[in-house]
C-alpha cells in the first residue's frame, strides 16, 4: 500500500516537474524573440519551419515506414502556392496557408495511391524523381511561376497594433503554426490512425489480419505528410519572401531526410533537433574550415550517426541504457520479484527451480531481432 502511495506521489511529482518544464519551454519559446537579436530570431524561425517539414516527413518515414526522397517537392509546392497567390492574386498571407495545406494534401493523396504498390527503394526512387522533375517544370510554367528568375513577394508584415518588429512577428506566426502542427502530429499518432500506422509499419500482414484498412491508412499517411511539408513551404515563402526553382532542387529533399534521421526517426521531438542540425551545422562547418565546409559537414553527419544511430533524440536513451547495463552488471544477482510459476512440489531434480522473473514476453521480440553484428537488411520484395 505504501509503495502505491509512494508511486503515486512520485508520479505526481514527475507530472509536476514535466508541467513545469513544459511551462518553462513555452516561456522560453515566447520570450526568445525579445531576448535574441533579430538575426537569431530569424534563424529560430527557420528552425521551426524546417521542423514542420521534418515532422511531416516523420509521419511517413518514422511512423509509416515508407521512405520518401521527394519531400522537397511538396515543400516547393507549398512555397509556390503561397508565392503565386501573393504575387498574382494579392490574397494576403493568411489565405495562402489553408490553400497550400489543402493543395499539398491532395497532391499527397495522388502520390499515396501508387505508393501503395511500391516499397522501400522503389518508392524512394519515384519520390526522388518527382523532386528532380519539379524544378524544370516550374521553369517551364514561366507565366505563372516567374520561370527561373523566381518570384519575389512581400514578407509577412507585423500589424501596427502588435508593436513587434518584423522578425518577431514572423517568429510568432511560425511558432503558432508549428505548435499547432506538432500537436496535430502528436494527436494523429495517438489516434486510431496513428496506431494503425504503427501496426502497419511493424507488421504489415498482422495488421491486415487485425482488420486495419491498410491502403486507406498508408495513403492518408502520405497525404498528411505532404500537407505538413506544404505548410512548411508556405511558411518559407512568408519568411524568405522569394522562391525560385533552383531553391528546391533534390538536394533539399535529401537534406530533409538527413535532418530527420539525424534528429531521430519516430520521435516526436526529433524533428526539432534535426531542424536545428540542418540549420546551424553548415555555418559551424564553415567556421571550422573555410576552405571546405563540406568536408566538415559530411564528417559531422557521419559522426552523429556513429554516436547516435537512432538519431539525436535517441542519444539520451542510449546513454541511460548504457549506464543501466553497467549498473546491472554490477548487481547481477539482484532479482526482480516475479510470480513463481513452478508448483510447490519439488520433484527430484538436479537443478534448483528457484523463483525467477517471467521473461516470456521479452523473448519472442528478442528472438526476432537479428543477432549481434548482423548487417541491416532491406525487404527483399
Amino acid at each position: 500500500m505504501s509503495t502505491i502511495t509512494a508511486a503515486l506521489g512520485s508520479d505526481r511529482a514527475r507530472r509536476l516537474r514535466a508541467a513545469l518544464t513544459g511551462l518553462l519551454a513555452a516561456a522560453a519559446a515566447v520570450g526568445a524573440p525579445f531576448y535574441f537579436a533579430p538575426f537569431q530570431v530569424f534563424q529560430l524561425t527557420m528552425v521551426l519551419l524546417y521542423a514542420v517539414a521534418l515532422a511531416g516527413l516523420n509521419l511517413l518515414v518514422g511512423f509509416g515506414g515508407q521512405i520518401s526522397l521527394g519531400h522537397g517537392a511538396f515543400f516547393a509546392a507549398g512555397a509556390y502556392t503561397a508565392a503565386v497567390m501573393l504575387d498574382r492574386y494579392d490574397t494576403g498571407h493568411l489565405a495562402t496557408l489553408p490553400v497550400a495545406a489543402a493543395g499539398c494534401f491532395v497532391l499527397g493523396l495522388g502520390f499515396g495511391v501508387p505508393a501503395l504498390r511500391l516499397r522501400g527503394l522503389y518508392l524512394a526512387l519515384v519520390t526522388l524523381s518527382f523532386a528532380v522533375f519539379l524544378p524544370p517544370l516550374l521553369k517551364r510554367l514561366q507565366s505563372v511561376t516567374g520561370g527561373s528568375m523566381g518570384l519575389t513577394v512581400d514578407k509577412l508584415e507585423p500589424p501596427a497594433w502588435s508593436g513587434l518588429a518584423e522578425d518577431q512577428w514572423m517568429y510568432f506566426a511560425v511558432l503558432a503554426v508549428t505548435a499547432v502542427v506538432l500537436l496535430l502530429a502528436r494527436n494523429l499518432l495517438r489516434s486510431r490512425v496513428g496506431r494503425a500506422l504503427l501496426a502497419v509499419r511493424d507488421n504489415e500482414s498482422a495488421a491486415e489480419v487485425m482488420g486495419v484498412r491498410l491502403s486507406l491508412h498508408k495513403t492518408l499517411a502520405f497525404a498528411w505528410s505532404a500537407m505538413f511539408a506544404g505548410v512548411a513551404g508556405c511558411l518559407y515563402t512568408w519568411v524568405i519572401g522569394f522562391v525560385s526553382p533552383d531553391s528546391f532542387s533534390f538536394v533539399l529533399s535529401i537534406t530533409l531526410l538527413a535532418g530527420l534521421v539525424v534528429g531521430g526517426l519516430a520521435s516526436l521531438y526529433g524533428p526539432l533537433l534535426g531542424a536545428a542540425f540542418v540549420m546551424y551545422v553548415p555555418s559551424v562547418s564553415q567556421d571550422v574550415s573555410e576552405a571546405a565546409p563540406g568536408v566538415v559537414f559530411g564528417l559531422l553527419i557521419i559522426a552523429v550517426m556513429f554516436a547516435a544511430p537512432t538519431g539525436l533524440a535517441g542519444l539520451p536513451g542510449r546513454v541511460r541504457g548504457a549506464l543501466a547495463r553497467r549498473a546491472t552488471r554490477a548487481a547481477t544477482l539482484d532479482r526482480t520479484p516475479g510470480a513463481p510459476s513452478a508448483p510447490g512440489a519439488n520433484p527430484k531434480s538436479l537443478a534448483e527451480p528457484g523463483p525467477a522473473a517471467v521473461l516470456t514476453p521479452a523473448e519472442p521480440a528478442a528472438v526476432d531481432a537479428d543477432p549481434v553484428g548482423a548487417p541491416p537488411r532491406t525487404e527483399k520484395e
Binding site: S341, P343, P347, L350, A351, P361
Partner: protein, 268 residues
Amino acid sequence: MSEPTTDRTEATPGAEPDFLTVRGLHAGYGQARVLQGLDFRVARGEVCAILGPNGAGKTTTLRALCGMVRGRGSVTLNGTELLGRSPEQTARIGVAHVPEGRGTFNDLTVEENLRVGAHLRTGPRRRGRAERAAVAADLERIHDYFPRLRQRSRQAAGSLSGGEQQMLAIGRALMLRPSLLLLDEPSLGLAPLVTRELFEIIRAVNEEEGTTVVVVEQNAQLALGIAHRAHVLEAGRLVLSGPAAQIREDGQVAEVYLGVSVRSRKAG
C-alpha cells in the same frame, strides 16, 4: 502410436563424459536476462534433449553455445572455450547450429546450399582435388540420408516444403562435418509424419556419424524418443535433468514441466 522408443539411456557412449561442459551459463538480450545460470554436461556421441515451456530459454541456450548471443560463465567443447567466440568461429571449431526457422538460403539451389555448408573446406586456400572429392562424397552421403534432396538438387531452396527445408538445413550443417550439432525446434511447423521421418534421420546420423547432438524441442515425446539424456528448463534455470528414459517414464514430472505434449501422449 508407434514411436522410436528404444531406451537409449543405457547406450550412452560415454567414453568422454565431458565432451561439452556448460557451467554457470548466463545469457540474455539487452537488459532482458534469459538464462540464469545453467550447468550441464553432454558426452561425446550423445543425443541431449533440452525441453521446457515457451520462453524458458531453450533457444537462448543453443544461441549462447554457438555464439549468436553473448553469454557469461563457461562452455567448453572438448576443452576449448566457446563463449566469447562469434558464430563463424564456433562453426570453425565444429559447432553446427540449425536455427529455428531453418535458415536456408532461399535464393540458392539445394545443392548450392549444401556447398555453402562445405565452404570451410573449399575456401580459397584449400581447393585441392582431394578436397573436392571429399566434398562430393559428403554430398553423396547427405543425399543418402535425405533422398528427397537429391531429387530437388537444382531447385531453389525457397521452393521446398517445410520438411524439405528442415532436411536441407540439417544437411547443410552436416556438410560442416561438425562434432556438435545443435538443432533448434526441428519439428516446428511440420506435419507429424514428416517430423517422425526427420527424427529417425537424426537418430541415424547420430548413430552412424557419431555426431553429438543437442536438440531443443517443444514436442518432448519426440525428443525423448531419440535422446540419451534430457534437461528440462524453466524460466532460465534447469529444473530437471536425467536420462531420457527416466524422464519419459516419470509421468507427473512430465506433466508438470512439459505440459501438453505428454498429456497428448497419454491420451494417444
